[in-house]
């Protein structure tokens, strides 16, 4: 092979190699990515629905108290685990994500979605709901109630944390100055007196 034909062959190899670099095979590999489509199945879903009745190891929901908010069929009125500060903050966070759109940030039932025309959401500060047992709220989150759909996407522990936060909201809307620790009463006084003129102006 002459030097010229050798260099020509090399150039050809370089062009083919550079051209191959433009193919997208590595970008779009045939494996199935999360929620991606697949032609392998008739419904074209890569994510396969579980066969009915499938329970992953360790996911059997056999704790009636924890998973249904009931004991012997009756709604419970205590938490399945202690509610500490972290749990309450978690409840606040999850409440603001999943519940506030309809129930509003304070739980008055007038969230943005309701303002836009959804059937009025429950007001947590009405007597019926203030007197409801904790398990009831858990059950409504898990299974829905009236126009409210079930929120099964919320993890079990988070549902209980939300219930705790709902209780805190209920307490907050019916709190009195005596409920504030003595050491922080001056702060509350100041906040209240600051709010008073605005409230008066609204009347």
């Amino acid at each position: 092979m002459s030097a010229r034909s050798r260099s020509l062959a090399l150039a050809l190899v370089a062009v083919v190699a550079a051209g191959a670099g433009c193919r997208q095979d590595m970008h779009d590999q045939p494996r199935i990515k999360a929620q991606a489509a697949s032609d392998f199945w008739r419904d074209h879903r890569g994510a396969r629905p579980l066969v009915e009745g499938t329970i992953a190891r360790g996911h059997l929901r056999e704790d009636e108290y924890l998973h249904t908010g009931r004991e012997m069929g009756q709604f419970v009125n205590a938490f399945p685990f202690p509610i500490d500060r972290a749990r309450m903050e978690r409840g606040r966070e999850r409440y603001n994500i999943h519940c506030a759109p309809c129930h509003g940030a304070t739980g008055a039932g007038n969230g943005m979605v309701v303002q836009r025309g959804y059937r009025a959401a429950g007001n947590f500060h009405q007597d019926r709901l203030r007197n409801e047992r904790l398990g009831y709220f858990y059950d409504v989150i898990a299974n829905g109630f009236g126009a409210m759909p079930a929120y099964a996407e919320i993890a079990v522990e988070d549902r209980w944390a939300i219930v705790a936060y709902i209780r805190a909201l209920q307490l907050s809307q019916h709190a009195r100055l005596e409920d504030v620790p003595a050491s922080r009463r001056a702060e509350a006084d100041k906040a209240l007196s600051g709010a008073a003129p605005a409230a008066a102006a609204a009347h």
Partner: protein
């Protein structure tokens, strides 16, 4: 035998060497910028979708948290596209006779998935995990931009490797307080580097830059 080239042709030969150099640099530069240009990366380009879903309306206007729909973002690699049922949580009663939303209702009735077009599509040879980022002070808008201002979703950044590395090498430039991660309108404070260095220490950030971190 007479000379073919006059002596002045030397100047031409010298100029051609310089011209070839300039041409090579220009071509290289053009390729460099082309490869990083929105023409190639498809940045800021909206995609055709079965329903013109607006993050601007839902996030910016209604104030819906990212996690209301993208429920898996804190615990898995994929943030998750919500099932049709999530749309119907509100749209069973709101805009429930809108023709635009008919594909949603259709999907809810017959149980067939809505086929969305993926906007932020990393190459399959790059591993990425949402939960690892959002649980360590990396905000949604750092990568996705002001989603609350996007009428139709677009890809905000190049998603090229140098872009990933910019943060993996200097996380203090981008990290934010954990409670601000899902704040789409978060504004980087003036003392970002100072605050960032603190947060890097506090969250124990050690972003890796070895090849196998992402190419595994």
């Amino acid at each position: 035998m007479a000379q073919i080239f006059p002596k002045s042709a030397n100047a031409l030969a010298q100029a051609s060497i310089i011209a070839a150099g300039i041409l090579a640099v220009t071509a290289g530069g053009a390729l460099y910028y082309l490869q990083r240009s929105p023409y190639v990366t498809r940045q800021h380009e909206t995609r055709e979708q079965p329903i013109p879903f607006s993050h601007q309306h839902h996030v910016g206007g209604m104030g819906v948290d990212c996690r209301y729909c993208h429920t898996a973002v804190e615990k898995s690699a994929s943030a998750g596209i919500p099932p049709t049922k999530t749309c119907m949580n509100c749209h069973s009663q709101i805009w429930n006779d809108s023709p635009t939303l008919e594909p949603v209702r259709q999907s809810f009735r017959d149980g067939k998935s809505i086929v969305w077009t993926k906007v932020n599509d990393l190459p399959d040879f790059a591993y990425f995990n949402h939960s690892a980022h959002v649980n360590k002070g990396m905000g949604c808008s750092t990568c996705h931009g002001r989603v609350d201002l996007q009428p139709l979703a677009w890809q905000e950044h190049s998603l090229q490797m140098e872009w990933c590395l910019e943060c993996h090498r200097n996380p203090e430039k981008f990290v934010r307080p954990q409670d601000q991660v899902f704040n789409a309108a978060y504004v980087t404070p003036a003392n970002q580097i100072e605050l960032g260095k603190e947060l890097v220490k506090k969250y124990g950030l050690k972003p890796r830059t070895s090849c196998s971190t992402c190419h595994r």
